[in-house]
């Protein structure tokens, strides 16, 4: 039984018929080709599938596409607007990635972190990113990137 859903994805309206069991992460990647959103652990731990749903960072591997019906989704593909989003630029400038697999989810979570706490301390940044795992960087450059982005976005 297919269910019709309608969402706004990165500013564009999308209507599709989906199986109820289809997860939002798979909907984005396989139905819409938005493969910037990664699937890592697929058990709501690693955070690489993080997207913004109605402005809040959520793990799209643990949300059914039908639950997002009527919502507004922002993925990594929707951040740049002619130029990089300040968080993307800060990750670039501070080398906040190595293999890059966690990066799309990490950047979305970092944006959500600054939306709720525009000037976080280093400890608040580290704690605020507990839902995103990076196995390459040791997090140091990611924390520097968030600090740099906070300055840009507040400035």
């Amino acid at each position: 039984m297919g269910i019709s859903i309608e969402l706004e994805i990165n500013g564009a309206s999308v209507s599709k018929e989906v199986e109820p069991r289809l997860l939002l992460a798979y909907f984005l990647r396989e139905e819409l080709g938005l493969t910037g959103t990664k699937i890592g652990c697929d058990t709501s731990q690693c955070g690489s599938c993080t997207i913004l749903l109605d402005g809040q960072a959520v793990k799209s591997c643990t949300v059914l596409a039908v639950q997002a019906d009527g919502g507004s989704v922002t993925t990594i593909e929707g951040l740049a607007n002619g130029e990089y989003h300040p968080m993307q630029q800060a990750f670039w400038d501070n080398h906040g990635l190595q293999c890059g697999y966690c990066t799309p989810g990490m950047i979305i979570s970092c944006i959500d972190l600054l939306n709720t706490n525009p000037q976080p301390s280093e400890e608040e940044i580290r704690h605020g990113l507990e839902g995103n795992l990076c196995r390459c960087t040791g997090y140091h450059n990611i924390v520097r990137a968030v600090q740099a982005a906070a300055e840009t976005m507040n400035g």
Binding site: P20, Q56, Q67
Partner: protein
């Protein structure tokens, strides 16, 4: 990972949701989905239908009236942890909700889903017990209320019938002179509680203990009310020494959990340490 196939229902009222549940014994209630969807992906649960209550208006909202706090079943951890009303009337609940999972999980997970799922290693059951919460439930025969102490029956098993829905949680507002704390020793990878202690103490004008409550997550099949510790503290001066001896002499965890992460004996000792920490912090805040 894909869950097995199911039919999807999105009722707009509790009454309609209950009707669907009554007609489908294999159906499950979907709220935020952060407990149910993971177990469905692992095929540990294979409901033939999901009843999505996430948009039902009457299950939303936080309100305070007649000395108690009412939280709709679909209110998220994030809303609870960041609500000024909850922080004032039930700071223990806000503190526990703020320690669940991570920021992404807290945006989706709900108080009703958490308590109905009744995972003993989650953070809200002990808080609900320690705060003497009343759980409001709706079913085909109308509404009823269940005290938290009667709600948690066994491992992931509650007093809810298959066609009943938890609609709201009611908590008596914190009294003047009371303090509370939730202290968790968490598994470093999963974040679930190996032991979580929820403590509330109320002090009289001279500083002695008027009442106390100490409840645990993660140490047994359900949340545990350490009533013997709490009653032994009443009348004491709530010094560190009084708290330590109350915990050491009176804390006994029934059927303590032992698993690959921590033995039963280890959890029992951990409960003494974490329980005393929670009581001392609650005292300092009273």
């Amino acid at each position: 990972m894909y869950p097995s196939k199911f039919d999807y229902h999105r009722p707009s009222s509790v009454q309609e949701a209950v009707q669907i549940l009554s007609a489908n014994p294999e159906a499950k209630v979907l709220a935020g989905g952060h407990s149910l969807v993971p177990v469905m992906k692992l095929r540990l649960a294979t409901p033939t239908a999901l009843v999505d209550i996430g948009r039902i208006e009457e299950l939303q909202g936080i309100g305070r009236a007649n000395g108690s706090l009412r939280i709709g079943a679909c209110v998220t951890y994030h809303e609870i942890a960041n609500s000024d009303v909850v922080r004032e009337a039930a700071p223990l609940l806000a503190e526990a909700a703020g320690q669940i999972g991570d920021r992404q999980v807290r945006y989706r997970g709900t108080i009703g889903g958490n308590l109905s799922h009744a995972d003993p290693a989650s953070d809200l059951p002990a808080a609900a017990l320690a705060l003497d919460a009343t759980l409001h439930v709706s079913g085909p025969n109308g509404s009823r209320s269940v005290g938290a102490s009667d709600f948690f029956v066994d491992l992931m098993m509650t007093a809810l019938q298959l066609d009943e829905i938890l609609t709201a949680v009611e908590i008596p507002a914190a009294q003047a002179g009371s303090g509370s704390a939730y202290v968790k020793f968490e598994h470093p990878a999963s974040g679930y509680a190996l032991c979580g202690a929820a403590a509330v103490v109320t002090r009289t004008a001279d500083g002695s203990c008027a009442s106390a409550s100490l409840c645990f997550n993660g140490v047994s099949a359900t949340a545990v009310d350490a009533a013997a510790v709490a009653s032994s503290l009443v009348g004491s001066d709530l010094s560190d020494a009084a708290i330590e001896s109350a915990v050491n002499e009176n804390l006994s965890i029934p059927d303590p959990t032992g698993d690959m992460f921590a033995s039963a004996a280890y959890r029992q000792e951990l409960a003494k340490t974490i329980g005393a920490q929670a009581l001392c912090t609650a005292r300092d805040r009273a």
